[in-house]
């Protein structure tokens, strides 16, 4: 096995799924001839042609709506939203249609669409090329939401998502598209949805994170080793379905929790984790649950490194939490 980047792993998952199943098809803006603005679909147009790698007009509502129609018919469309910041024109299609088709039809019309999209900050993208909107989708009943943090998971989770019978929002941490490399199993590789990964075992504080925050959190955890703080880091991987058992088991052990994400804090995904703990692990908690997140402002351009949780801010929270109570 050779090391590849996260975006190459995405590309591999797409290519292999398309080879395995002629009903898998890719569509989106600039995904064909151009290979995607991040090159996630590079080479697919050449291998599979315009019939299966579809360059669309500039309309996210059209992309998602057409993908839904294809899925109703029986295809397995994988639509790319060029930046997740541009998914909002399709919000009605996602919330009113994609998420509710199976339910409203009494199970007659499943809608197995995958929407993959780069998300998050750290590439100097400003307000509109940096957002982390996972909370909107996680709050929408009927959608699965997945966020990989490394190449092997990116390939394994995306493959599972493509063959999953339900709609999946697949958010790719573009900040680490190329900076994180890793070995990826060749051939079909699936990682189940709904299973978190303990990416660093520890006993003192549990940190819950996902996507591009994993390297940040690992750096923070490593920096505290010298102080004797043994941090456990859980990569949630899939936000819906959520591996609540893994979360509760970790906190029952450590009694302390820090939650890290890039999105604004208020009613963010971290709130749900904290709520689960307040509801189901209250008696295990030895210290207040801390959230280290983006702030409750739009995403700023020049100051993005202050806005984003940094290793120092995360380490500060872990240290405080370890000491507390």
């Amino acid at each position: 096995m050779t090391e590849i980047t996260l975006v190459q792993a995405v590309n591999q998952a797409l290519a292999e799924a398309m080879r395995a199943d002629p009903d898998v098809l890719v569509l989106g803006e600039d995904v064909g001839v151009n290979g995607g603005v991040f090159r996630a679909t590079e080479g697919l147009f050449k291998e599979f042609g315009a019939d299966r790698v579809v360059d669309t007009p500039l309309s996210e509502t059209g992309i998602v709506g057409a993908a839904i129609g294809m899925a109703l018919y029986g295809l397995k469309p994988v639509a790319e939203i060029q930046f997740v910041d541009f998914i909002y024109p399709a919000f009605d299609q996602i919330v009113s249609e994609l998420a509710k088709f199976r339910y409203r039809s009494g199970g007659q019309y499943p809608c197995p669409v995958v929407l993959r999209s780069p998300y998050g900050g750290g590439i100097k993208g400003g307000l509109y090329h940096s957002q982390s909107p996972e909370a909107y989708f996680a709050h929408t009943s009927g959608l699965k939401v997945v966020v990989p943090s490394n190449p092997a998971d990116a390939k394994g989770l995306l493959t599972t998502a493509i063959f999953d019978p339900d709609p999946v929002i697949f958010l790719e941490p573009k900040r680490i598209y190329r900076s994180v490399t890793g070995e990826v199993p060749a051939g079909e590789h699936r990682v189940p949805l709904g299973v978190a990964a303990t990416v660093r075992p520890g006993t003192d504080v549990s940190v819950f994170a996902y996507g591009a925050m994993i390297p940040t959190v690992l750096e923070a955890a490593a920096s505290l080793e010298g102080e004797g703080v043994r941090t456990e880091v859980i990569d949630l991987r899939s936000l819906v379905p959520l591996d609540e058992e893994a979360i509760l088991a970790s906190v029952r052990k450590t009694g302390r929790a820090v939650i890290v994400h890039e999105a604004p804090r208020f009613v963010g995904f971290g709130a749900e984790i904290a709520a689960i703990l307040a509801e189901k692990a209250l008696y295990s908690l030895k210290a207040p649950v801390k959230r280290i997140t983006g702030f409750d402002t739009p995403f700023p351009y020049a100051l993005e490194n202050l806005y984003l949780p940094s290793p120092a801010r995360v380490a500060g929270a872990i240290r405080d939490t370890a000491k507390e109570g």
Binding site: S59, G62, L72, Y73, G74, Q93, E97, R104, K144, D166
Partner: protein, 360 residues
């Protein structure tokens, strides 16, 4: 409002034949059935036996003749007012009533308001309420059919107001670009709730909007079943022979209220209604059958009686069907219930028995 008078035509409609003469009695029967269902449902709503209803009065010819021009393999993407289409597709009356009531027999499992039915077996996709969203689905499904070399068309239904929606725009545009076998069937019933057609958009006709997408547009008199049939047949053969999509504007009138929650007297005149009522499409086809000697007044009375009995029997069956099982709330969110949904199901269980305080 003949085809010629109604506005700009951007594609020619062959002068070819109208509805197959031998089908006319069946077509009339279906239009009448739609009309009588409508009347019955409006009264059921007033009696509190169904919760809500959206009538189609005035649009029977447009719908029944349009559906008559389709094949059973074609896919239908309806809005919420397409009873006439549903009947031609063969969705049984009991299936409709089960849905209106939301009982254990409802294939939608009681999930939706009346009129939002759908039946996979009839290639009649389950409707939603937000207007326009189905338009682009029809295009996506047509793109899929193209890829499967499946010789079908997809057809989608929507109103005049819905031409302002986002997915009218994306749907027509994608259909134009990908040259899909799709028929966009706009029932211009002159009103979007209280908004008259001429305030909805300043275009000359709705059909002319096709120009913006390279999609041919046709205006037809939707009170004339023959004209509608001809237009749809032609659009269908063009689509099947690789000629791409067509936008059809059927000019009709909503004779009733927008829905049982609406009072049209607030925004339109009796004179306008009377003028259009004089062109009642059901009466018009009846007149044709009477004139050609295929129907007498007595036949018609008998037919009405027969249809009312049919409706009554279906209603009776639906009203005697059990209520939907409370714990099905948690099904079909996903293919398989997640642990979280299982836990919520257990949380609800103690409150789900009648009389438990949680129940209606």
């Amino acid at each position: 409002m003949s085809e010629a008078a109604a506005g700009r035509r951007t594609a020619p409609v062959a002068a070819g034949p109208g509805l197959p003469p031998e089908d006319l009695p069946k077509i009339y029967r279906t239009m009448l059935l739609a009309r009588l269902m409508d009347e019955r449902c409006l009264s059921l709503q007033r009696q509190g036996r169904i919760g809500f209803y959206v009538p189609l009065q005035g649009q029977e010819a447009a719908q029944v003749a349009c559906a008559w021009a389709l094949e059973p393999t074609d896919w239908v993407f309806p809005a919420y007012r397409e009873l006439g289409i549903a009947l031609v597709r063969g969705i049984p009356l009991t299936t409709l009533f089960d849905q209106f009531i939301g009982n254990a027999g409802d294939i939608l499992k009681g999930r939706q308001m009346p009129n939002h039915y759908g039946s996979r077996d009839h290639r009649f996709v389950t409707a939603s309420s937000p207007v326009g969203t189905q338009i682009i689905h029809a295009v996506g499904a047509a793109m899929a059919a193209q890829r499967h070399r499946d010789p079908i068309v997809t057809i989608t239904f929507f109103g005049d107001g819905t031409t302002s929606s986002n997915d009218f725009h994306s749907g027509l545009n994608f259909a134009g670009v990908f040259h899909t076998p799709t028929i966009f069937f706009c029932q211009n019933n002159q009103w979007a709730i209280s908004m008259p057609r001429e305030h909805q958009t300043r275009s000359e006709t709705l059909a002319v909007k096709g120009t913006a997408y390279g999609v041919p547009g046709v205006v037809v008199d939707g009170m004339d079943a023959h004209a509608v049939y001809r237009a749809v047949r032609e659009a269908r053969s063009r689509a099947l022979s690789g000629g791409g999509p067509t936008l059809i504007e059927a000019q009709v009138y909503r004779l009733g209220p927008h829905s049982t929650s609406d009072d049209p007297k607030r925004y339109r005149t009796d004179a306008e209604m009377a003028e259009w009522r004089a062109r009642d499409p059901v009466e018009r086809l009846k007149g044709e059958l009477v004139r050609s000697g295929q129907l007498t007044e007595a036949d018609d009375e008998k037919l009405k009686e027969e249809l009312r009995t049919e409706i009554g029997a279906a209603l009776k069956q639906a009203e005697s069907t059990a209520a939907v099982d409370p714990l099905t709330i948690f099904d079909d969110v996903f293919a398989v219930r997640t642990p979280r949904l299982d836990a919520e199901r257990e949380e609800l269980r103690p409150y789900s028995a009648p009389g438990s305080g949680g129940h209606p």
